[in-house]
């Protein structure tokens, strides 16, 4: 894996989260963290359970509002107040909880908040189902339950729907919070291929994953968090699996002495 050419050329990053923090009732869930992302780059976010990874990206996706710091998209400071603002900036998110309405079918979930409508302004279910079949054909060819509420789907099938929703709308920035947690080996492989393809299309991806191997394989850089703080960001080419593991566990960058 080569270094990202855009980053090497010193271009403006796609996304910069600069010194952002948020706390919940006195607990600093994210404590002055800075990460950035270039077009066509995959940045892994690693850390133990409760390290603050999901909370960090939720400030970018509009689910939470940051308390300090700045978020820039293409060098421009942006104010992301809610998920609509993030979507308007072409930031799409696959949440760890999947965020699906269980009582609706796959197509309704895929288009939730952005329904296709007929010329009369009525929701066009047939058109949405047709689009849903197209995208699912790419992501999970075994998927067939189009006319059932997603509560009737398996964990992996639900995850496929959430992934489809994030990639359908021409994202420029994609946030994937443990996208393969419920997937079988074949489906996981398909998501890995999807990530490669999206990367080739110039999309920037934040990938949260507990699987260090997957991160080594898919990512260009990795940022490690511990207890809400950023341990450090490293080039994947410069580190080994063990380096990443020790960063996660000990909270020290390679080369630094463990305390």
């Amino acid at each position: 894996m080569t270094r990202n050419p855009k980053r090497a050329a010193g271009e403006t990053p796609l996304v910069e989260m600069d010194d952002v923090s948020i706390s919940f009732g006195g607990i600093k869930a994210v404590d002055h963290v800075s990460v950035d992302l270039y077009p066509g780059e995959v940045v892994g976010l690693l850390g133990h359970n409760g390290a603050g990874k999901s909370t960090l990206i939720k400030m970018l996706s509009g689910a939470y509002q940051k308390e300090t710091g700045e978020i820039r998209v293409n060098g421009q400071t942006v104010d992301i107040q809610n998920p609509r603002d993030a979507r308007a900036l072409n930031i799409e998110t696959i949440y760890q909880t999947l965020a699906l309405a269980d009582n609706l079918d796959a197509a309704s979930n895929l288009f939730l908040g952005r329904e296709l409508v007929t010329p009369l302004g009525l929701v066009d279910d047939s058109a949405m189902e047709a689009e849903c079949r197209k995208i699912m054909g790419r992501l999970n060819p075994n998927f067939q339950k189009f006319n059932e509420p997603v509560s009737a789907l398996s964990g992996g099938q639900r995850q496929s729907v959430a992934i489809a929703r994030a990639v359908y709308f021409n994202a420029k920035v994609l946030i994937m919070d443990e996208p393969t947690a419920a997937l079988g080996p074949h489906e996981t492989q398909m998501v890995a291929e999807l990530i490669q393809q999206l990367k080739a299309d110039g999309i920037g991806i934040f990938l949260i994953d507990h699987d260090v191997h997957a991160v080594m394989e898919l990512c260009d850089r990795a940022s490690v968090m511990k207890n809400g703080e950023l341990v450090g960001t490293v080039e994947i080419d410069d580190v080994t699996d063990d380096d990443l593991l020790s960063m996660i566990i000990l909270g020290k960058k390679p080369g630094e002495e463990a305390a």
Binding site: A63, A99, A152, M190
Partner: protein, 432 residues
């Protein structure tokens, strides 16, 4: 990731008759229960229950609760509750009564019987209901006070605002044009009713075929043509049958004579005139159709169901769930005011106890109709059928001569049983 074709669409599976018709089993069950109930009462009353006259009365008695039940479906699907609908009906009824009998004719000097009175009254009432509903919705959505509390408070407040506005007096008679919304005083006559039936049947068939075309256009499986045709025939048959029954209820001779006298004419010998479709029932049908379209085919409706299914997901999908709550309660308030028009016009005056216990009837109708209190599931037609079943039970028991305490005991038991059956049904079919 080279395969860019869409998912193959499986061949339609052949099943039994019901599967091919794709009829909603729950709907069939409810219709079945309703029919058995009616036949049972008809048997117990020696055929007095299923007369055109009683069916006519049953229909107009159901309208007010059924209209509010439509709004309650949205409220409950959205994981809220509204305990204030009966009180809100009373307040809007009081506002309209005072407007049409005092403010407009006397304070503003339009004079009694002015043709503008009913319209202005209607607009004032509907606006008041919508505003009060929106205000309650704002407290639920933006101040995050549980709907149970807001509307429990509203229940006390609006019941007594109505009392205060009218000093507890019965106000009447109401404007004569306004009374046409009540039922018996406002029916469309036989010819217009038949015409409407034809129009409704044509629209329904057009809708069924339109949906079929849209599905076929995307290559999705559709029902066999005969099944679709059968469905059309059943729908049209039901529409024409209903109108036929309402047309068969003839205006009593005395009343007809008086109507002719009022016009200075003499009634021809042996004349028989049917009532036809009451205006209030036409309003209910319109509300039902519009609310069903909202539920199934608009973004607003889709968001109500999505939020009921998973509020967090709705929020993360960019849905403004707070504003949605305000809209739902505003719509509920609007429908309460509409029910107030019909209820007060039916009684031909505003009485202090109008709408008492309606909140419970409305919630029961929605729940018997399959609306899940946990949110996310419910249908408009179910709620209307629920209201009909409740009213049929109540009137039927009264006709049979069941003692008043037993009537309510039965209604309460039926409510609990209906929910139990619904839970068992949902478990069987694997739905949530």
């Amino acid at each position: 990731m080279t395969d860019t074709t869409s998912q193959p669409i499986p061949e339609r599976q052949k099943g039994n008759l019901f599967q091919q018709l794709e009829l909603d089993l729950r709907l069939l069950g409810m219709i079945g229960a309703f029919v058995i109930l009616c036949i049972g009462f008809n048997f117990l009353t020696d055929g007095r229950f299923l007369t055109p006259r009683n069916i006519f009365n049953l229909t107009i008695q159901t309208v007010s609760v059924a209209i509010m039940a439509c709004g309650m479906v949205f409220v409950i699907v959205n994981r809220h509750i509204d305990l204030s609908v009966g009180a809100l009906l009373a307040t809007t009824s009081a506002i309209m009564a005072v407007t049409q009998t005092q403010i407009l004719p006397h304070t503003l000097g339009l004079g009694l019987g002015n043709p503008a009175i009913w319209l202005i009254t209607l607009l004032v009432g509907l606006a008041a209901g919508t505003l009060i509903g929106a205000f309650q919705g704002w407290m639920v959505g933006y101040l995050s006070i549980p709907a149970f509390i807001v509307t429990l408070g509203g229940f006390l407040v609006w019941r007594n605002v109505a009392w205060y506005l009218t000093d507890g007096q019965t106000i009447g008679p109401l404007d004569s044009t306004f009374l046409t919304f009540g039922g018996t005083n406002g029916t469309l006559g036989e010819a217009t009713s038949w015409l409407l039936a034809a129009l409704a049947a044509a629209l329904a068939i057009w809708g069924i075929w339109g949906a079929r075309r849209a599905k076929a256009g995307h290559g999705f499986p559709v029902k066999p043509a005969w099944a679709e045709a059968t469905l059309c025939a059943i729908t049209a048959g039901a529409i024409f049958g209903f109108i036929w029954i309402l047309n068969s209820y003839h205006i009593p001779k005395r009343r007809l004579e008086r109507m002719f006298e009022a016009r200075g004419e003499v009634m021809p010998e042996g004349l028989e005139v049917g009532y036809g479709l009451p205006v209030s029932v036409l309003i209910l049908i319109t509300v039902a159709v519009v609310m069903t379209i909202i539920a199934r085919r608009t973004r607003f409706g889709r968001y109500i169901f999505a939020t009921g299914g998973n509020p967090d997901a709705a929020e993360l999908s960019g849905i403004n769930t707070r504003r949605l709550t305000v809209k739902i309660f505003a719509l509920m308030g609007f429908l309460c005011a509409l029910s107030a028009v019909i209820a007060s016009a039916r009684l031909s005056n505003h009485s202090n106890d109008i709408g008492t216990l309606d909140e419970l009837r409305v919630i029961a109708a929605a729940v018997i109709g399959g609306t899940a209190l946990s949110g996310g599931f419910g249908t408009i037609y179910g709620a209307i059928l629920g209201a009909l079943i409740m009213q049929a039970l109540q009137s039927g028991m009264a006709m049979v001569g069941v003692d008043a305490p037993f009537q309510n005991i039965v209604v309460g038991t039926v409510l609990v049983l209906a929910v139990l059956i619904d839970i068992i049904y949902r478990k069987r079919v694997g739905a949530k």
